[in-house]
């Protein structure tokens, strides 16, 4: 039914089966949109956030999704700047994933703020000292860059290509794409850092506060490094998932190998930097603020296990697995290692967002917990559903994996 729209030389599931695949995701999207409507129409009293837990599930997942979406900028950086040509095999998919992650995060932010119609105030009355201003500017600019990077993929669809004007536009865009990749890299580096700085500057929250290096707290650099380290792992993990779901070989093993090598090496550097940062924080920063670091881990469930899990189990272990040539040759170890690395960055963002707010600052304050409401959960699941639907459409109608045709050919022969 939609054969004329499918990329040439690629086989795709029958249209009916594709629609059936989309139905549950569309239902999830529908429920989530209703939950988002409730939050926008009735207010944030629909959530379980409160004056102490001013940030909740949404901010935590936003930070995680943006860190994972770093695969887009970092793959672009490796391809266009470091000239790692093998990554041309996944750059299209990475751009789509990046676009989904960033647009989804921005959509959730629009629900999360109390007055979304005032979002433009940040551009009109910016407080240049606020990390959130940096985040807002960079996020907006980078989402625009991602949209521009996504556009040529759409224009290369075989029906659109029939229009000469579209072909010329796509060709012209392609010529400047390296520039956009560079701009995107700069913007993404910067806002990943600003997101880390968001918490690192909170002098009123000794658990999150970190000493400054140059103008930024150490979390600024750690967030950049962790996002760059985990981005390639996320590209690897998503490519593997798409390959499994579609039943197709999409990239050569050497691409996975390169992604894993880059991810593992950077993760090792990150684990080292994070360990040094933790030692400085434990032995210097927290005492300077008059807090014994043991008090941060005195409230269950946030014991020292959380620190161990974040740095060792979900940091050092996947890093060592990913740098090992033997692991990289075995998909049964490689893929779980990539997932572990992604879980590590999610754990870090959880600790920075949720644990920071759960811990009391005043001596007479109790330790508080928070459970998100169904509206919060459903709104976020809507972003997941939106991502799956957009990716599925992109995979079906655009050529996300340039090696797919070549890898499929021998089988047909």
């Amino acid at each position: 039914m939609d054969e004329r729209l499918l990329p040439r030389g690629l086989s795709r599931a029958p249209f009916g089966r594709f629609l059936l695949w989309l139905v549950p995701w569309a239902a999830l999207l529908g429920v989530g949109l209703y939950a988002a409507y409730l939050c926008l129409a009735l207010g944030l009293n629909q959530t379980n956030m409160d004056n102490r837990f001013a940030f909740g599930l949404w901010i935590y997942l936003d930070l995680t999704v943006i860190a994972l979406g770093a695969g887009a900028f970092f793959t672009g950086f490796l391809l266009y700047v470091m000239k790692k040509r093998e990554l041309a095999a996944v750059i299209n998919s990475a751009v789509v994933i990046g676009f989904i992650c960033y647009s989804g995060a921005v959509a959730i932010l629009a629900i999360d703020v109390g007055q979304p119609l005032r979002a433009w105030f940040t551009f009109w009355h910016p407080n240049v000292h606020s990390m959130l201003t940096e985040v807002t500017f960079c996020l907006t600019c980078y989402l625009t860059v991602l949209a521009i990077e996504y556009l040529p993929l759409v224009l290369r669809n075989r029906q659109l290509k029939k229009r000469p004007s579209m072909l010329v536009f796509e060709f012209e865009l392609h010529k400047v794409m390296a520039v956009f990749a560079l701009v995107g890299t700069f913007l993404s580096f910067f806002h990943q850092g600003s997101l880390g700085g968001l918490y690192g500057v909170l002098q009123g929250r000794p658990f999150a506060y970190r000493v400054s290096l140059a103008a930024w707290p150490s979390t600024f650099f750690l967030f950049i490094l962790s996002a760059a380290a985990v981005g390639p792992s996320f590209v690897l993990a998503t490519t593997w998932i798409v390959s499994r779901v579609s039943g197709r070989v999409l990239v050569k093993p050497s691409v996975f190998d390169l992604l894993a090598r880059v991810s593992g090496s950077l993760l090792l550097v990150y684990v080292l930097a994070k360990s040094v940062d933790t030692l400085v924080w434990i032995n210097h920063t927290s005492f300077r603020l008059g807090v014994h670091p043991a008090s941060f881990y005195a409230f269950a469930p946030f014991g020292t296990w959380a620190l161990f899990a974040e740095i060792v189990l979900l940091g050092l272990v996947p890093a060592l697995l990913l740098v090992s040539a033997r692991t990289r040759r075995d998909p049964r170890l490689l893929v779980p290692a990539a997932f572990l690395a992604c879980a590590g960055v999610a754990m870090n963002r959880f600790v920075m967002t949720v644990q920071t707010l759960a811990l009391p600052t005043l001596a007479f304050d109790p330790f508080l917990s928070y459970t998100p409401s169904w509206q919060e959960v459903a709104s976020f699941l809507a972003v997941v559903a939106y991502g799956v639907i957009l990716y599925s459409l992109s995979f079906r109608y655009l050529n996300l994996f340039p090696q797919e045709r070549e890898l499929a050919a021998p089988k047909e022969a």
Binding site: R205, S295, L357
Partner: protein, 253 residues
């Protein structure tokens, strides 16, 4: 100019005598009425209600008598945690009075300032404000109401300062920062709150703030808070002045 001193103006602050406070909550009620804080909706709890001033009950094992600590925005001076983080300048520190002002009409409702405040003294409007029946007739015309989705907090009744400044200007005497009294100070039946210019060496507030036994909450964070507390009870000073530790904090009022 010494740290925290304002440019040619005053540095308003208060000193709360915890040994005099009996926890009646009159300050909290007066604050809410004066500043048009709406009645709490049915579903509101002590975690999501609007309480610019709440009275914290302090207890310790072996101590028969509880202490009560009125807690509001501490009007930080040197490194105001909330002002530096607001992305759109909705928090401003008035250099002439030292008062940390909130500009609700600029507020995006991102709540970053709430995460930054170590005193948990900032409140978000989770609901539409509602004054049922004829309650709207009790609104104070000097204070604007706030809408849903913005952050608000204690302003040291800065509208009263404005009125005092206007009266002073009308009288032609502009040589000294005007004296004024916030609603909570006025309402306290025990006279536990002393308010005034902390830079006025002849003022009672400055004298008490500098007297032995006075302390500030989380002083170690260096926020330069302009709210001081006093008590002769060592355990209260230790509990109120110290940092985070396991404690069963309960509030009322």
């Amino acid at each position: 100019m010494k740290a925290g001193k304002t440019e040619g103006g005053a540095r308003y602050g208060m000193v709360i005598d915890l040994d005099r406070c009996n926890g009646c909550g009159a300050c909290a009620v007066a604050c809410a009425v004066e500043n048009n804080v709406p009645p709490a909706p049915e579903r509101a709890t002590d975690r999501n209600g609007l309480t610019w001033l709440r009275v914290q009950r302090l207890e310790a094992p072996g101590e028969a008598r509880a202490a009560f600590l009125p807690l509001m925005c501490q009007q930080c001076g040197e490194k105001t945690p909330c002002a530096s983080v607001c992305p759109q300048n909705a928090v401003e520190v008035d250099p002439a009075s030292g008062i940390v002002a909130q500009v609700p009409v600029r507020c995006l409702g991102c709540r970053y300032c709430m995460a930054a405040c170590p005193y948990h003294a900032r409140y978000f409007n989770w609901w539409d404000p509602d004054w049922p029946g004829r309650m709207a007739e009790t609104l104070n015309p000097e204070v604007s109401t706030r809408t849903r989705g913005v952050v608000e907090k204690c302003t040291f009744c800065s509208h009263r300062l404005q009125a005092a400044q206007d009266a002073q200007a009308a009288g032609g005497d502009g040589t000294k920062p005007p004296a004024y009294t916030p609603a909570c100070v006025e309402a306290c039946p025990a006279g536990a709150i002393t308010f005034g210019d902390l830079d006025d060496p002849e003022g009672e507030a400055a004298r008490l703030a500098g007297a032995p036994g006075s302390f500030r909450l989380l002083e170690r964070l260096g926020t330069g808070a302009k709210v001081y507390f006093r008590t002769e009870r060592e355990w209260v000073r230790r509990l109120a002045g110290g940092g985070a530790a396991a404690s069963d904090g309960r509030s009322h009022g």
